[in-house]
C-alpha cells in the first residue's frame, strides 16, 4: 500500500502543500472531508483520495471575542475578534474554518449563503485551511 493513510496526519500533510484532500468511498461514492478510512454508510474500507476545489458558501458563523488559547496567541481578543464559520463546499461536505477578509465589526454585512474560497494561512508552524469571500 503506497498511498497515504486516510487520516488527520495525511490531511495536514496535504494542507501544508496547499491542497484540500478528502476521501471517497469507491463502492458508494460517499465523500469525506476530512478524510476517513471507513465509510460510515456501507462500512467499506475501500477509499480513494479526492481533491476538493475549495469553493463553497457560508452556512453559519460567529464573531468570537473570547477565543481559545491558540487564537489568543495568534493575536485575537476582545479588541480583535475573528469570524469562525461553517462552510458548505460545492462538493457537498461542510467544514469548520476561519473566515477572513470580512468586517467583523459589522456582522450584518456577512451573509449566510455568500460565496467563499479556500485560502491557506500560517498559524504558529502549521498551515491551516481558512476561507475568504469569493
Amino acid at each position: 500500500m503506497n498511498q497515504p493513510l486516510f487520516n488527520h496526519a495525511s490531511y495536514n500533510d496535504y494542507l501544508s502543500q496547499r491542497r484540500l484532500m478528502g476521501s471517497r468511498c469507491v463502492k458508494d461514492g460517499a465523500l469525506y472531508l476530512p478524510p476517513r478510512a471507513l465509510c460510515a454508510q456501507d462500512f467499506s474500507s475501500e477509499m480513494e483520495w479526492v481533491e476538493f476545489r475549495g469553493r463553497g458558501r457560508l452556512a453559519a458563523f460567529s464573531i468570537i471575542y473570547i477565543g481559545p488559547d491558540h487564537m489568543i496567541e495568534a493575536g485575537y481578543g476582545r479588541e480583535t475578534p475573528y469570524c469562525a464559520a461553517i462552510i458548505e463546499l460545492e462538493e457537498g461536505p461542510k467544514i469548520s474554518a476561519q473566515l477572513l477578509d470580512v468586517d467583523v465589526f459589522r456582522p450584518e454585512t456577512i451573509h449566510i449563503g455568500m460565496s467563499v474560497q479556500a485560502i491557506y494561512i500560517q498559524r504558529s508552524q502549521e498551515t491551516v485551511l481558512a476561507f475568504r469571500p469569493a
Binding site: H8, P34, A59, A60, F61, S62, I63, I64, Y65, I66, G67, P68, D69, H70, M71, I72, Y76, P81, Y82, A84, A85, I86, P93, K94, I95, S96, A97, Q98, P107, I112, G113, V128, L129, A130
Partner: protein, 421 residues
C-alpha cells in the same frame, strides 16, 4: 422507530442538590457529600444509605478542573458507601443525564434494586480562559476548535445565525429567554443568580449614578440587554446574558425498582421513557438550526412513554445558551420548527404558560456545573411533580415532566420523562 422498553419499572424516590454557584474552598467531594445529605433528607419514609448497591456519577472533567481523575470511588468513600461499585460517566455536559440513564438501565436489568445517581462538577478553581479551554475539549479539537477557533459560545452562536437566517428571528427573541429564566431563578434558593434582570439593571443604574456617572437611558430589560457596555458580546450574536455561567455544584437522585418505591416515599416518580442519541461535529449535521440528536432522543423517550409532547406539563431543557432553549422547545415537539422563538416572545414557556420550560431558572440562571446539570434538572422535576416547588410551582398540579440534557453542541443528547405515581 423501534419502541424500546425497560425490563422492569424504575422510580425516583429521593432527590437533593447543593446550591449552584462559585464556592471557593469547597472541592467536588465536599459538594457531593452536601448533595448526598440533602438527598437522604428528602426521603419521606426513611431509608438506610447502606441499602444503596451501586453508584453512577456524571462528571465531565475533574481531571482538567481539579487535576483529579478516578473520582467515582473517592465520592463513594466520602459518602460512606465503600465498597460499592461506582462508575464515572462522561458525555460532556450530558454526563449527568447519561449517568441517570445508566442508573435506570442498571435497575431495569434486574441487577440492582437501589442505585445512587449523581452529577458533580467543580469549575471555579480555574480562571475563565482555562475554563473555556477545558470546555472546548468537548468539541472536536482537531476539526472545530483548532482550525476555526470555535468555542462553545461560538458553536451555539453559529447555530443562532443559522436559526435567525432560517426563521427571521432576532437577538431580542434570545433576550426574552434570558429574562424569563432569570425571573424563575430569582424564586429558586438553589440558583446561582438570585436576581431578575430588571433588578440587575436597577442596581447597575444606581451604582453608576453613585459614582457620579450619567444615568443610562435604559427603559426596560431589552434596552439594558442591547447595551454593549452592560451586556458585552461574547460570540456574536450571543452576549453575556445569553450564556450560562461557570459553576460549582452537585445533584443526586435515589433510584429504586418500582415495587420498592412506595415503601420509601409517598410520592415517587416513575420513569416513563428515556432516549439518547449521538452525533458528529456541528458542521457534519444536516441541520444547523436544530439539534438532530435531541429530536432522536425525544422520539425514543416519547415512544417508550407512550405519550406525546402535549402531555408533558413541565420541562427542564438544556439552555446552556438562550438559542439552545429555543431549539430544544422545537426539538422536543412543544412547538413547530421556527415557532420556538415566537413562543418565547409570547410567554408560552413561562411558568404559567402552555409549556412551562425551566421553572428552576434553567442552566442560565440556576447555574451550569456541567456534569451536575442533567441531574439537577431532575431535582426540579421532582419538586414540580410533587408540588414542592414553592413560589415557582407551575400551576395545574403537573403530573408528567421531562428533562433534556445536551452534551457539547449536540454530539450527545439524553431525554427522560417522569410521571408522578
Amino acid at each position: 422507530m423501534k419502541r424500546r422498553r425497560l425490563g422492569r419499572g424504575v422510580a425516583v424516590v429521593g432527590a437533593g442538590m447543593t446550591r449552584f454557584g462559585s464556592f471557593p474552598g469547597l472541592s467536588s467531594r465536599d459538594l457531593f457529600v452536601d448533595a448526598f445529605q440533602e438527598m437522604l433528607a428528602s426521603v419521606d419514609n426513611g431509608f438506610h444509605p447502606q441499602d444503596i448497591e451501586a453508584l453512577f456519577i456524571g462528571n465531565f472533567s475533574s481531571d482538567l478542573f481539579e487535576k483529579q481523575g478516578h473520582t467515582a470511588p473517592i465520592y463513594t468513600d466520602w459518602a460512606g458507601l465503600l465498597p460499592r461499585p461506582a462508575v464515572r460517566v462522561e458525555d460532556a455536559c450530558a454526563s449527568g443525564g447519561v449517568a441517570l440513564r445508566q442508573g435506570i438501565q442498571a435497575i431495569a436489568s434486574g441487577m440492582y434494586d437501589v442505585v445512587l445517581v449523581g452529577g458533580v462538577e467543580k469549575m471555579t478553581n480555574l480562571p475563565t480562559g482555562k475554563v473555556t479551554d477545558a470546555l472546548s475539549t468537548a468539541a472536536d479539537m482537531a476539526y472545530e476548535v483548532a482550525p476555526a477557533g470555535f468555542t462553545f459560545p461560538g458553536l451555539y452562536a453559529a447555530m443562532a445565525t443559522a436559526y435567525m437566517h432560517q426563521y427571521s428571528a432576532t437577538p431580542e427573541t434570545l433576550m426574552r429567554v434570558s429574562i424569563k429564566n432569570h425571573e424563575n431563578g430569582a424564586l429558586n434558593p438553589k440558583a446561582q443568580f438570585g436576581a431578575r434582570i430588571r433588578d440587575t439593571m436597577t442596581a447597575k443604574k444606581a451604582s453608576l449614578v453613585k459614582k457620579g456617572l450619567p444615568e443610562p437611558a435604559w427603559q426596560d430589560e431589552l434596552d439594558f440587554l442591547r447595551d454593549e457596555r452592560a451586556n458585552p458580546t461574547i460570540a456574536w450574536p450571543l452576549r453575556l446574558f445569553d450564556c450560562s455561567p461557570v459553576s460549582d455544584g452537585a445533584a443526586l437522585l435515589l433510584l429504586v425498582s418500582e415495587d420498592l418505591a412506595r415503601s420509601i416515599t409517598d410520592k415517587p416518580l416513575r420513569v416513563l421513557g428515556t432516549g439518547q442519541a449521538s452525533d458528529g461535529a456541528l458542521h457534519n449535521r444536516a441541520s444547523l438550526h436544530s439539534i438532530p440528536a435531541a429530536r432522536l432522543a425525544a422520539q425514543e423517550a416519547y415512544a417508550m412513554a407512550g405519550i406525546g409532547p402535549a402531555q408533558v406539563r413541565v420541562a427542564e431543557v438544556h439552555d446552556c445558551f438562550t438559542i439552545a432553549e429555543i431549539m430544544a422547545s422545537e426539538d422536543l415537539g412543544f412547538f413547530q420548527p421556527g415557532d420556538g422563538g415566537l413562543a418565547a416572545d409570547e410567554g408560552l414557556t413561562a411558568r404559567n404558560g402552555l409549556h412551562p420550560i425551566n421553572t428552576s431558572g434553567g442552566l442560565k440562571s440556576k447555574g451550569h456545573p456541567v456534569g451536575a446539570s442533567g441531574v439537577g434538572q431532575v431535582v426540579e422535576i421532582w419538586k414540580q411533580l410533587r408540588g414542592e416547588a414553592g413560589e415557582r410551582q407551575a400551576p395545574g398540579n403537573p403530573n408528567i415532566g421531562l428533562v433534556h440534557n445536551v452534551g457539547g453542541s449536540g454530539q450527545t443528547c439524553a431525554v427522560t420523562i417522569f410521571e408522578r405515581i
